[in-house]
């Protein structure tokens, strides 16, 4: 529920309760005040009529003043009461207040009733109800306009900022530039968010630089180790154990070198400007990559089928596309089964690489994540697919992975 709706809801619910209470209060107070007033009037009238009665003027004017002869005067000679009297012209019973008193003149007893018409409670109730309802309706209308104005003045900047925040990435390194608001709380929030994003961005940058620095710093020692091992390998008089140890050390340094190179490359992929784009013929580059791997596939008893539409071109960096294809094709060879097959299709702007293989055991959403290895193969760096993903992200190509019927399928949607 939106903030403004929630506030309005609270406001309206509470107003409604208040209206009911005030309504009831006013209703009863009015009835009480009016009846008090009428009773006072009746007492005065009763006094005047009584006075005239003793002066010999016997007023009888039903239904407002009734003077009736009675036989006996009861114990209570003065009483106030309510009654209903049928009024011919209105054709209904109307409420009246009356004062009944007993008088005696010349040995004759009289009962004097003085009446005054009393307001109908129902009428009062309905009148009040109408007034209150109209007021409440007006309140809703006013609230609607206030809300609209509030949304425009207060919440629009808030929503703009919200949108900015949703699209913000610490990778960009730029400040968020939140819109200032007239509301103090929102400005404080902006301030806090700006601080937070600055901090996150700085820390991200520091972490990135650290990774890059580490990778670069590692290159020299790795170079030295690699060269020393290579020189050792040239020795003629090595025994079997030393050869084994050397061989394993050499393999490991090669792997370290590969991981490091991949990390440096991944870091470089952060900036598109480093890679000059040109128009390239996709089928040609796919063909070349497939050619490059054909003997390796053959060696692994894999059959590669290609179906390449010839005229498709994309604008991008040729080396990056080659890396992307190299990684995908070499993956399809690596994660294949004995006597398996690889199908490479380039139709329209879609490149699909399918290969037989053991099922991917992890979460398919993690397929392109770093170091997410389906099988622990020694020479695999676990970064190939992360590089593929990053290249796709750079050029905003969509990339999908799914597996079906024993086939792994990767689809790249070029633009």
């Amino acid at each position: 529920m939106k903030l403004i709706k929630k506030i309005s809801q609270y406001f309206l619910i509470n107003s409604a309760i208040l209206f009911v209470i005030v309504f009831a209060g006013i209703n009863f107070t009015l009835i009480w005040i009016i009846s008090e007033e009428i009773d006072e009037q009746l007492r005065i009238t009763n006094g005047v009529i009584t006075k005239r009665f003793y002066q010999g003027d016997l007023v009888n004017d039903p239904p407002l003043i009734e003077l009736i002869k009675v036989e006996k005067i009861p114990h209570q000679i003065y009483s106030v009461s309510d009654t209903l009297i049928y009024i011919e012209s209105e054709r209904e019973n109307e409420p009246y207040h009356q004062i009944t008193s007993y008088l005696q003149k010349d040995g004759v007893n009289y009962k004097l009733i003085v009446r005054a018409s009393f307001i109908e409670k129902e009428d009062l109730f309905y009148s009040l109800l109408i007034i209150f309802s109209i007021t409440f309706a007006l309140l809703i209308v006013i609230l609607f306009f206030i809300n609209r104005k509030t949304t425009k003045d207060i919440l629009v900047p808030f929503y703009v900022n919200l949108n900015l925040l949703m699209n913000y990435s610490v990778k960009s390194g730029n400040p968020i530039n939140l819109v200032a608001s007239k509301i103090e709380e929102f400005n404080e929030l902006n301030l806090a968010l700006n601080l937070l994003s600055d901090k996150a961005s700085k820390e991200y940058k520091a972490l990135k630089e650290f990774t890059e620095d580490v990778s670069h710093e590692l290159q020299t020692p790795v170079s030295v180790i690699k060269s020393k091992l290579e020189i050792l390998l040239q020795k003629d008089n090595l025994d079997e154990e030393s050869t084994n140890n050397l061989q394993n050390a050499y393999k490991s340094i090669n792997k370290l070198d590969k991981i490091n190179r991949s990390l440096i490359f991944l870091a470089k992929l952060e900036s598109k400007d480093l890679f000059e784009a040109e128009r390239i013929l996709l089928s040609e580059i796919v063909q070349n990559v497939v050619m490059n791997y054909s003997d390796i596939a053959y060696e692994n008893n894999l059959i590669i089928h290609t179906e390449l539409e010839s005229e498709i071109t994309v604008v991008c960096n040729a080396a990056l596309i080659e890396t992307l294809l190299n990684n995908l094709v070499s993956n399809s060879i690596k994660h294949n089964i004995k006597n398996g097959e690889i199908v490479i299709r380039l139709l329209g702007n879609i490149l699909e690489i399918s290969n037989t293989g053991e099922l991917f055991s992890g979460n398919t959403d993690d397929f392109f994540n770093r170091f997410n290895k389906n099988s622990k193969k020694f020479n695999s760096t676990g970064l190939g697919l992360a590089i593929v993903k990053k290249i796709c992200d750079m050029y905003e190509y969509k990339i999908d992975y799914f597996s079906s019927k024993g086939y792994h399928n990767v689809k790249v949607y070029f633009k």
Binding site: H216, S223, S227, E230, D295, I296, E299, N300, N326, S330
Partner: protein, 225 residues
């Protein structure tokens, strides 16, 4: 042949010298920019291996001077950065080749040879090894005047072997040289074996000795012994 090595990492420079001096090269190792300039002014070289990142200057400036004073000297740029700028700048200044750290010494050795060959035998880029004659530009191999038909891969492998004759070549370095840097992530590196087997058979069939010796677990050695 005189080779200048400008590399600030002492141990790496030492490895390079150890590895390539077996080829009969005379090597001068220089560890900083100032010394490099001094040496370029004093001596003549056939090939220079230049690291771009030096503590007191840029290797690119050294290349500039080298190209001005000794235009016949071949230049191979070494960079730790794998940056396109370094590569483009280096090649624009007249460098012949570019190699990124860390590299296989055998790869560097093959490149030095290639650069020296190109610079010294104008139009007649040939290698003679025992009974083999390899015309690098024509990509033609002859044994005793008879042409041997080799595939592209087989030719490249043979050339790499001949460039690193009498040395142990690891499978990794061969694969990286032939298939490129991206390709060395396969678990089984045996696919290189098929090609080597074919080269071996074709050479023997043509009447040469069996030059290619398997070095168990490591790789191969191309030897006339």
């Amino acid at each position: 042949m005189k080779i200048l090595i400008i590399e600030d990492e002492f141990e790496l420079a030492k490895s390079i010298v150890t590895f390539i001096s077996k080829e009969g090269y005379v090597c001068d190792s220089i560890y900083n920019f100032t010394k490099a300039i001094e040496n370029i002014n004093l001596n003549t070289y056939d090939c220079a291996i230049v690291d771009i990142m030096l503590p007191d200057g840029s290797g690119l400036d050294a290349i500039k001077l080298l190209k001005k004073l000794q235009p016949k000297c071949g230049v191979i740029v070494i960079s730790a950065k794998n940056s396109l700028d370094d590569k483009v700048n280096g090649l624009n200044l007249g460098a012949d080749d570019y190699i990124t750290k860390p590299f296989h010494l055998s790869e560097l050795n093959a490149r030095i040879k290639s650069v020296i060959r190109r610079r010294n035998f104008d139009g007649n880029n040939q290698i003679i090894f025992d009974k083999l004659k390899i015309d690098v530009d024509k990509r033609e191999v002859t044994v005793l005047g008879k042409i041997i038909e080799l595939t592209r891969r087989e030719f490249d492998i043979l050339l790499f072997f001949v460039s690193n004759k009498e040395r142990v070549l690891t499978k990794e370095s061969i694969i990286e040289h032939i298939w490129g840097n991206d390709s060395n992530t396969f678990d089984s590196l045996d696919f290189v074996y098929t090609h080597i087997k074919n080269v071996r058979k074709k050479l023997i069939d043509a009447g040469t000795k069996d030059y290619i010796i398997s070095v168990y677990g490591i790789g191969y050695k191309f030897s006339v012994k």
